[in-house]
């Protein structure tokens, strides 16, 4: 712990402070000059944060700004090197996550840490099950869980249901139930809306409002500014591990200000201009009558060379499953997939890749990356065979190719020998997309390419995608964010309940129309069985 005074803190941007009486509740958490370093990286470099009871305090910052590290410090995963953490008026250090939980700080991570094969109640009370003589009091636990779920407005979730069978939104509710089972005074939510479909976000906000009404403080992390406007009370902005603005009013601070505090830039992400109509390219991908029961039915679509086709739809509308089936990662029950007129062997990723397809899957870490391996090996994962001679790999050539990709995608850090694990989400996504810039990819399938990616990296990814199309690569893009689909794609398909309900040039659709189409009729709850 250092006794440094505030004067010694050097920030490159002036620290902005809003009037302290913006929120009435007492201060529950105060961080002063918190520093945390890792080998080679100064992850937190003087963070100030003040959170009051009953407020939703939003944390903004690009990927790599230090948000994740900050959360882990608060959750007791990391201990700060210096600086002060004051919890409910007293200096505090949390030796481990259990200590933080006992103190009343609960964290809901982006990747939910639930045990899929335990019940809702068992997950809610995991690690602190109510016991009598060493036996778990199952009945009592179920009753308490039902109470908590009721408090969260989700009394309809049965406490004995297996978590595996719940949709993503339901799992999130279970995570919150776990937080409440600890009598948490502060709940940290790391991009809770990233896994939710549009209508479920409203439900999340309702729950958050109920929590804050009970005096619980919430630290809310999101890349979506409109969410912060809607749910947030105050905003703290991080950049390069430092607080560049503290306690801004969430509703009234101009977007321009927030973005510039975050990035040092004054624009929000923009979509690259569509090139002047160069006439349709040759038809590249032709999908006819593709069907997998319970996921999607009778989907036909086509992608031309140099065209970006976007698929809009809710989670559970079958869009990710459709993409994986086109790619051969799932086997179609009916219908055909053809590349440049030639039918692909169903259920064979190898055949799809050989035909020139590449995919950036929805779950970067679990579906796309070898986290412990160096960046260059991840970039060349699909192409190292091409650089090999007689089965012998050419590491020098691979590094050179990966370097070229890193250069053109502005990967940070640039050193391609570093393990992918050490990269931020946006940069990891660049590695996954960059993989398919090598070789002769003709069609790129992108599933939620900007999930968990910050504003700056997003704009960069959009440029990359547009540049690819300009080079004649066809792109099939799936995204939950309607503006993204409309802004980036040339042509848009709207999916609902496993069917394509509308197909039109992006210029003929607007956000409200698409949202209406996406959500019309009965809503599907999560993924179908």
């Amino acid at each position: 712990m250092s006794e440094q005074s505030e004067e010694t803190v050097v920030t490159d941007a002036p620290l902005v402070e809003a009037p302290a009486d913006a929120v009435a509740g007492e201060v529950v958490l105060r961080l002063t000059d918190v520093v945390k370093t890792f080998p080679g990286v100064r992850a937190l470099d003087g963070v100030q944060l003040e959170v009051r009871a009953g407020e939703v305090h939003c944390l903004l910052g690009q990927n790599g700004a230090g948000k994740s590290t900050l959360i882990k410090v608060l959750a007791g995963v990391h201990r700060p090197d210096s600086g002060q953490v004051e919890w409910r008026g007293e200096p505090a250090t949390f030796a481990n996550p259990q200590a933080a939980m006992r103190a009343g700080i609960a964290t809901i991570y982006q990747e939910l840490d639930l045990v899929e094969d335990l019940s809702v109640a068992e997950n809610a009370f995991l690690g602190h099950e109510p016991r009598r003589f060493g036996f778990v009091r199952r009945g009592y636990m179920a009753r308490r869980t039902r109470q908590i779920l009721g408090r969260l407005g989700h009394a309809e979730i049965p406490p004995n249901r297996m978590v595996r069978t719940l949709p993503a939104a339901g799992k999130q509710v279970v995570s919150m139930a776990r937080a409440l089972s600890h009598e948490a005074r502060l709940i940290i939510m790391d991009e809770p809306s990233a896994v939710l479909a549009h209508d479920e976000v409203g439900n999340l906000f309702r729950i958050i409002r109920e929590l804050t009404a009970q005096g619980i403080a919430v630290i809310y992390i999101s890349h979506r500014l409109e969410e912060i406007r809607e749910i947030g009370d105050r905003v703290t902005v991080l950049k390069d591990g430092r607080t560049t603005a503290a306690n801004l009013p969430a509703r009234d601070t101009p977007t321009r200000d927030l973005v510039s505090r975050m990035t040092g830039r004054t624009i929000e992400y923009v979509f690259p201009d569509r090139p002047a109509d160069t006439g349709p390219g040759a038809e590249l991908l032709t999908v006819e009558g593709l069907t997998r029961s319970g996921e999607f039915a009778d989907v036909s679509l086509s992608v031309r060379a140099g065209e970006i086709v976007g698929i809009a739809g809710l989670v559970g509308s079958g869009r990710s499953e459709l993409l994986e089936t086109i790619y051969g990662a799932r086997r179609a029950e009916a219908g055909s997939v053809r590349m440049a007129g030639r039918a692909l062997r169903p259920g064979s990723v190898g055949a799809a890749v050989r035909a020139g397809m590449g995919m950036a899957p929805e779950e970067r870490k679990s579906q796309a990356l070898l986290l412990g391996e160096p960046i260059y090996r991840n970039v060349t994962l699909a192409t190292f065979g091409r650089y090999a001679r007689a089965g012998f790999t050419d590491a020098g050539r691979e590094r050179a190719e990966a370097d070229r990709i890193a250069e053109s995608l502005e990967l940070r850090p640039r050193d391609v020998r570093r393990p992918v694990r050490t990269l931020s989400g946006g940069n990891q996504q660049k590695v996954v997309v960059g993989r398919w810039l090598l070789g002769d990819t003709k069609l790129l399938l992108l599933d939620e390419p900007t999930r968990g990616v910050d504003v700056g990296a997003r704009a960069e990814l959009y440029q990359v995608i547009r540049a690819l199309a300009a080079r004649g690569v066809g792109v099939l893009l799936v995204s939950s964010e309607v503006p993204e689909v409309l802004g980036l794609a040339d042509r848009v398909l709207v999916m609902r309940e496993g069917r394509v309900v509308r197909e039109a040039p992006a210029g003929e659709l607007d956000e409200n129309t698409v949202l209406d189409l996406v959500m019309a009729g009965s809503l599907m709850e999560g993924a179908p069985a």
Partner: protein
């Protein structure tokens, strides 16, 4: 963190790399020189274990353990260690002791890095040994015996792989079943008798030396060298790491994960076939109970050597050091006239200690290196 450089401008992004242009060697060299910044340590040590600096550090730890064991030997039997001729002979006998299990461990290392496990290796060695020493096989001479041992090993490994990949059996179960079945078949073929090998060429593999070094040690060296090249320098090795590290990512990158798994078990079987010839030569006979518990020795050696049991990480050099550490312990007990029972207890302890030491040493070493890099 330098995560905030300005957004790619359209012109900038438009300069995306042309697809796979020819790369001239000079450019490649320049590029790799550029990348050595911050990765200098990894670069310098890379000949140890491909591009993995972690593996090299781990291996240094193992060499330390080995030196400690030798030091204990020298302290407890200073009378023997004062004779250089005896020391050289003793080194050779340790390596000879390590040779058979060493060959099996190379195959096992591939299987484990690839995300599997092979419990049937000892049984495959026994089956291949018995098969190649039947009177019928021996009548074809040394060539026939070697061919049959290798073929049997490869075939059994293939069956393992097919059951696991396409029959979707869990590797543990499939190879456990194979362990039981292969030993049963070996007992059936040999009629539970010890089959003596009359072939002088085969027997000579164990008794002959070249330039003062036993042939068995050359075979071990050859298999280790081939394994190292295969793992670190070929597409097969890269696929192995990818398939074990993240099977889903490998599959979505277009790698045929199932076929590769089959090949891994076949490779392990092939190594068992080689080991069967070596072991048969050593005993000048084969029987169904030979190579007992080799699976445990091989797994333990691989794990000590830093191979991750969940797959995706491991080195051939580490596994070799693991095997040599085990045979050095055996040797240490033999020269001190101690019992096998005590030896096994110590081996168990060594497995735990080696893994614990590696974890601690590795963590502190990376922290040390990281801090150094920050301050300089």
């Amino acid at each position: 963190m330098s995560d905030t450089s300005p957004t790619a401008t359209p012109e900038r992004a438009a300069q995306l790399p042309a697809q796979s242009p020819p790369v001239d060697p000079a450019e490649t060299a320049a590029a790799s020189e550029k990348t050595t910044h911050g990765g200098a340590t990894a670069g310098r040590l890379s000949w140890w274990s491909g591009d993995s600096g972690e593996g090299a550090k781990r291996n240094l730890g193992l060499i330390g353990v080995l030196l400690v064991l030798i030091a204990i030997g020298a302290l407890t039997r200073s009378d023997l260690y004062s004779n250089p001729d005896w020391v050289w002979d003793n080194v050779l006998s340790i390596l000879k002791l390590a040779s058979v299990v060493g060959v099996v461990t190379v195959g096992m290392t591939f299987v484990i890095i690839g995300g599997g496990i092979d419990l049937s290796v000892g049984a495959i060695v026994a089956l291949a040994g018995v098969w190649c020493t039947t009177l019928a096989t021996q009548s074809y001479g040394a060539g026939g015996m070697i061919f049959s041992a290798l073929t049997v090993g490869l075939a059994v490994g293939l069956v393992n792989g097919l059951l696991i990949s396409y029959g979707r059996l869990v590797p543990f179960i499939a190879t456990l079943a194979m362990l039981v079945a292969a030993r049963g078949l070996a007992a059936e073929i040999s009629d539970k008798q010890t089959q003596v090998s009359d072939n002088q060429f085969i027997n000579g593999i164990a008794s002959n030396s070249l330039l003062g070094i036993p042939l068995l040690v050359y075979i071990l060296a050859a298999v280790v060298a081939a394994g190292w090249v295969l793992l670190n320098r070929t597409t097969f090795g890269r696929r192995t790491v990818a398939v074990g590290g993240n099977p889903e990512a490998a599959r979505l990158a277009g790698i045929n994960v199932k076929r590769h798994s089959v090949l891994l078990y076949a490779l392990s079987g092939l190594c068992c076939g080689i080991a069967a010839i070596m072991l048969t030569a050593q005993a000048t006979s084969a029987q169904a109970a030979m190579a007992n518990l080799y699976e445990l020795d091989a797994i333990a050696a691989a794990i000590i050597g830093g191979t991750l049991l969940s797959g995706g990480r491991g080195t051939i050099i580490g596994s070799l050091l693991g095997v040599i550490i085990f045979s050095t312990i055996t040797n240490l007990f033999a020269i001190n006239g101690l019992s096998t029972e005590a030896q096994n207890m110590v081996k168990g302890g060594i497995i735990v200690a080696a893994v614990l030491v590696q974890q601690v040493q590795f963590r502190s070493l990376t922290q040390f290196l990281g801090r150094n890099r920050l301050t300089t």
